[in-house]
């Protein structure tokens, strides 16, 4: 058993726990949180598996995941706050860019 294997198993268990939270809810925010956590763990697992298989070019993939996770979460929260994806987020000084 290499450390990669052990880590991969730990990540998988953690993903399962987060998935439980995503299914249980109870509020939508819990689910967003859980999905976001799953996303982060996916990034980790991809990196670890990449090393396990001796293919570090998996890291590009991990970056894409981190990016998509971020954009997805922002989009979801924006939808929740404003009910649409159209307008921009505002700033404190009203200086619209």
């Amino acid at each position: 058993m290499s450390f990669f294997t052990v880590t991969a198993i730990a990540i998988l268990v953690s993903v399962a726990l987060a998935l439980f939270r995503a299914i249980l809810g109870p509020t939508s925010y819990d689910r967003i949180l859980a999905v976001n956590a799953i996303g982060t763990k996916t990034v980790l697992l991809i990196a670890v598996v990449g090393f396990m298989n001796g293919r570090p070019d998996f890291l590009d993939l991990a970056i894409v995941y981190a990016l998509m996770n971020f954009i997805g979460t922002l989009a979801v929260l924006k939808y929740f706050k404003f009910g649409s994806l159209r307008g921009g987020l505002s700033r404190s000084h009203g200086e619209e860019k």
Binding site: R91, S92, H93, K97
Partner: protein
């Protein structure tokens, strides 16, 4: 001026990422960096916030300090997860922010969030609303040490 420095930063990132140094790929890299910089210029994202050079090396020291704090706080949260009944004392409170620039406020707010046990719930004008997991973590924010450090990094002390 900042556009040019953005191009340089982007190109450095490109070189570090690519790992393939044939003239063709480097040429594409330069072209890509220039296109991205032009798009970023039209997007109006290049300014003191989009490309914070002024922080310089001070921010590195701050990151090291922050990392230590994160480790310490993580152990607290771990205790909390394992023995919630004993440790969990959530609270919600306002705290003052002394940074003047938006960037400083954002760095501070994100530092608070990064440190486990405290989450910035709201950042509004010069107040942040913090949700803390334990009394200890709440004290960490209330004491204002992190706030002082960020202000120093920003050069606004």
């Amino acid at each position: 001026m900042r556009t040019i420095s953005l191009i340089l930063v982007l190109f450095a990132v490109w070189l570090l990422f690519s790992g393939i140094y044939t003239p063709m790929i480097i040429g594409f890299g330069i072209a890509s960096c220039i296109i991205v910089a032009l798009i970023a210029r039209r997007m109006d994202v290049i300014d003191a916030e989009g490309l914070p050079f002024q922080l310089g090396p001070k921010i590195m020291l701050y990151w090291v300090w922050l990392l230590v704090e994160i480790v310490k706080a993580n152990i607290d949260v771990a205790k909390c997860v394992l023995f919630p009944k004993k440790h969990l004392r959530p609270s919600l409170f306002h705290s003052k922010v002394t940074q003047k620039s938006d960037l400083g406020k954002v760095i501070y707010a994100n530092s608070v969030t990064l440190t486990p046990g405290t989450v910035t719930v709201d950042l509004h004008n010069d107040m942040i609303l913090v949700h803390a997991l334990t009394e200890g973590s709440a004290e960490g924010v209330k004491s204002g040490e992190m706030d002082q450090r960020v202000t120093q990094v920003m050069g606004e002390a």
